[in-house]
């Protein structure tokens, strides 16, 4: 090779590919970021407006002030919920992309991840290492462990309960997936109860540090209240972002990612091009499961106590997020997760405030999530970022 002669050209080549590299890996994240800001601003605006309008209805407290006081906390909450749904939704969307199949058991894969972390914490505690271990090391180890177990589990589930049904009518694998989800719940319960972890398992962690104070917000009479992010939420957000970067790299840059996208687009043709479709599908489950497992660890770490049924609701909502973003679309799943998370956080915090506690925001947030699912499916089934595709006849 005439290396010297082509150096200049190569330089341009690498520079260009570096740019495309950046845009493929960070472009989706930029989009996610825009939706984060957009959701926060839009919803924040709405609640402030509502507060102004409804101000007269409350004499006991200043509604506007109350609204603004909790706003930063609500936004952080929205971010955490958003990234939770986004990471779980990726599993749904990737599997849907390659198989057109709703992996109903994905919520349980997430739950298993959370339990792996709880076991890890308990094991460290019983060996007395929990107080001495470096918190960052703990988080990294727990996340990696959760990813490995959940990823492998998702892959085996595919092998056992879905692959034999691949050419059956649509409802058949779906029903099998419902079965898997029930089995996983009870098996995990059996394990948890009989290993001493208990049905309501404590997720033990080393001391993860104090809340991070971002600013002091002035309220009336020259008093201020601190605006803070608790450390667990912060860990959640940071790890989730790192994973999303990793996933974008994997799917958009690597050869494996190309294979996955090829299978998603046209399975028979991909198979003719020499791609081992079964392997790609298995790896898709592995990746989706690993993301779900990581989400489970982060979730468990943040809420502190988990049980074998915690996967159900987040799973359902993450599916909603995937549909909201456009199922089969990876960036869409992240965006959908963010939007749904913010909406829920706002409803959960402000519904009670605005209705004088008559309607519990926390409960009705679920209803809001499902209503969104239904509305989206009716009016824009392709989701926020999906393309409209007519079914071929």
């Amino acid at each position: 090779m005439a290396v010297e002669a082509t150096t200049g050209a190569e330089l341009i080549l690498t520079r260009r590919s570096f740019r495309s590299f950046m845009s493929e890996v960070f472009g989706p994240l930029l989009q996610v970021f825009l939706f984060v800001v957009g959701s926060a601003v839009a919803l924040g605006g709405v609640v402030i407006l509502l507060a102004v309008v409804l101000r007269g209805t409350r004499e006991d407290i200043d509604l506007l002030q109350g609204t603004i006081t909790i706003l930063p906390q609500v936004i952080v909450d929205g971010l955490v919920r958003g990234f939770l749904y986004a990471t779980i939704a990726l599993g749904y969307t990737m599997v849907y992309g390659v198989l057109e199949f709703i992996n109903f058991a994905h919520g349980e894969i997430f739950m298993v991840g959370a339990f792996v972390g709880a076991f890890f914490g308990a094991a460290l505690a019983s060996s007395g290492m929990l107080t001495t271990i470096n918190p960052i090391l703990f988080v990294i180890a727990a996340v990696l462990l959760g990813m490995a177990v959940s990823g492998l589990l998702a892959m085996s589930v595919e092998r056992i309960a879905y692959r034999p049904l691949r050419n059956a009518p649509r409802l058949v694998p779906l029903i099998s997936a419902i079965g898997v989800s029930l089995v996983l719940q009870d098996v995990m319960r059996m394990i948890a109860v009989n290993t001493g972890l208990g049905f309501n398992a404590q997720f033990r962690t080393p001391d993860l540090g104090q809340p991070l104070v971002l600013a002091h917000m002035p309220i009336a009479d020259e008093r201020t209240i601190p605006v803070s992010v608790d450390s667990r939420s912060l860990i959640f957000i940071v790890v989730a972002i790192l994973m999303l970067i990793g996933l974008n790299y994997l799917v958009n840059i690597t050869k494996l990612g190309t294979a996955i996208r090829a299978v998603a687009q046209d399975r028979p043709t991909a198979s003719l091009m020499g791609i081992d479709v079964n392997r790609v599908i298995a790896i898709t489950f592995l990746i989706g499961g690993a993301l779900g497992g990581a989400a489970g660890i982060l979730f468990g770490m943040r809420v502190g106590t988990i049980n074998p049924y915690v996967g159900f609701l987040p799973g359902l909502k993450a599916f909603t997020a995937a549909v909201l973003g456009g199922i089969g679309n990876i960036t869409g799943a992240m965006v959908g997760g963010i939007v749904l998370g913010f909406l829920e956080a706002f409803v959960a915090s402000y519904l009670s405030l605005f209705t004088r506690g008559q309607f519990s925001g926390a409960s009705y947030a679920d209803i809001v999530a499902f209503s969104i699912l239904i509305l989206i499916l009716i009016f824009r089934p392709s989701g926020l970022l999906g393309e409209v595709v007519a079914q071929k006849v």
């Binding site: 409802l171 419902i178 029930l182 679920d366 499902f370 499916l377």
Partner: protein, 454 residues
């Protein structure tokens, strides 16, 4: 020992021989009567609660199935079935209350599952929120027959138990109404989306039931509604005429048993009629191929809505019965697991198959309410005697595991169910010349039709 080889050579022919022998002439009548007599005697002579009686009850229910499939005339089947269900079972129920409760529940779930079968089995719409309609019916009667109603309509007194009968019809209508209401927005969706959305709707109903104690106390929230009204008894004089005195509790037990039996019979009738009509055919066509169905002139949304409404109306009525039977309901009664339990009945028996669905409902209910708890207590007994069985192994506690394995295994090995739907029904009903009286039953008619074609 010498016969062994021959058996290996022709096991099928021996089996066939036995079958033809048992199915020819008076043999089936004699065999079935003997079977019925033995089982009835065992039940009535030794009405204790235990593993032995469990087995006999299973044999009793199996007998129903045998009668259904047997090559005998219809009149014989109906007479024997009626005697067993309307006389033997109730008398046994007076002697031992436990089993008739299980049978009542099984009947109730069979009716519910038949409703779901219309939606899932006939029309192919996977509805994971079916229990929502059941809840609507249950809360309807629960609210109107208790002081809850005074919270909603001030000054209104709880309704008297005799309103129950009217509420069976109202439950039907309200169920259908909710079916249309929830179905209208979602029935345009593709199959797998529909499953998730109905699941969400089921959860919404449960969340509403939990939270609608504020601002107005409609559902009494998580505490649930207790002391739900029951219909007034009117069968007492009948018993007195026979010189039998039984307690009110026992009377109610029989009352609901017969009520459920009646409703189940009606349900079977309705579902059967629908299935063999242009509506049933349209449903099956939709299940098979939506695009082809609509191109052949079937209004998709209307037909799907109809399926949804029919299924929901059964659930509504059964909900009314359920709340009166239990006298207590709360939100967890109507969780997703209940929907999935009913779904697994349909799938186990065979989607689209009426006898299959009933069979599935009976098997799952028996397993769930009777056999698993029994196995658990037997295991515990063994354990106390020192047999090394791990303490945590309690089969009665692993309902989800049971349903889950059932769904997976059925999907992989037998997706059409234990008793698949009979797809040759046209010839059985209208097509062929009237078969000879003796063969005027399900099986031989099918065979004669085949040979006529041959």
């Amino acid at each position: 020992m010498a016969t062994d080889n021959r058996q290996v050579d022709q096991p099928a022919s021996l089996w066939t021989q036995l079958r033809t022998m048992a199915g020819r002439g008076p043999a089936p009548y004699v065999l079935i009567l003997a079977y019925a007599a033995i089982v009835s005697a065992l039940l009535l002579v030794n009405p204790t609660t235990g593993l032995g009686t469990d087995m006999v009850v299973v044999l009793f229910l199996l007998l129903m199935f045998v009668i259904y499939r047997a090559p005998t005339i219809l009149a014989f089947k109906l007479t024997l079935g009626t005697i067993l269900l309307a006389v033997v079972m109730p008398v046994f129920g007076v002697l031992n209350p436990f089993y008739i409760d299980v049978v009542t529940k099984a009947g109730m779930f069979a009716a519910l599952a038949l409703g779901l079968n219309v939606v899932v089995g006939f029309a192919g719409l996977l509805d994971l929120g079916y229990v929502a309609f059941f809840a609507v019916g249950a809360y309807l009667w629960g609210i109107f027959s208790t002081p809850q109603i005074s919270n909603i309509v001030s000054g209104m007194e709880p309704l008297h138990g005799s309103w129950f009968w009217l509420f069976l019809a109202i439950g039907l209508a309200v169920g259908a109404f909710f079916g249309v209401l929830l179905g209208l927005p979602v029935l345009r969706l593709r199959g797998d989306y529909l499953a998730i959305v109905t699941l969400g709707l089921g959860e919404v109903i449960r969340v509403l039931a939990t939270n609608l104690d504020r601002p107005i106390n409609i559902t009494n929230g998580a505490q649930g509604i207790k002391d739900i009204g029951r219909p007034p008894l009117f069968i007492e004089p009948v018993f007195q005429a026979f010189g039998i005195t039984i307690s009110q509790v026992q009377e109610y037990r029989l009352y609901f048993y017969f009520l459920v039996l009646l409703v189940l019979a009606l349900t079977v009738f309705v579902v059967h009629r629908l299935n063999n009509s242009r509506i049933g055919r349209a449903w099956t066509a939709i299940r098979e191929d939506e695009t082809a169905a609509i191109a052949m002139g079937i209004p998709l949304v209307r037909m799907k809505l109809l399926a949804f409404a029919v299924g929901a109306s059964f659930a509504g009525t059964m909900g009314v019965i359920f709340s009166a039977l239990q006298t207590f309901i709360n939100p967890p009664t109507f969780d997703l697991l209940r929907s999935i339990g009913i779904l697994s009945m349909v799938i186990l028996g065979g989607m689209g198959s009426i006898p299959g669905t009933i069979l599935g409902a009976v098997i799952v209910t028996l397993l769930d309410l009777q056999l698993l708890p029994r196995i658990a207590s037997e295991l515990a007994a063994l354990q106390r005697r020192g047999v090394p069985i791990p303490a945590w192994f309690d089969p009665a506690q692993y309902q989800r595991l049971l349903f889950g394995l059932l769904l997976i295994i059925m999907m992989i090995f037998r997706p059409e169910g234990l008793l698949p739907e009979d797809r040759r029904r046209q010839e059985l009903h209208h097509d062929e010349p009237e078969p000879a009286p003796v063969s005027k039953t399900v099986k031989p008619a099918a065979e004669s039709a085949q040979s006529a074609e041959g």
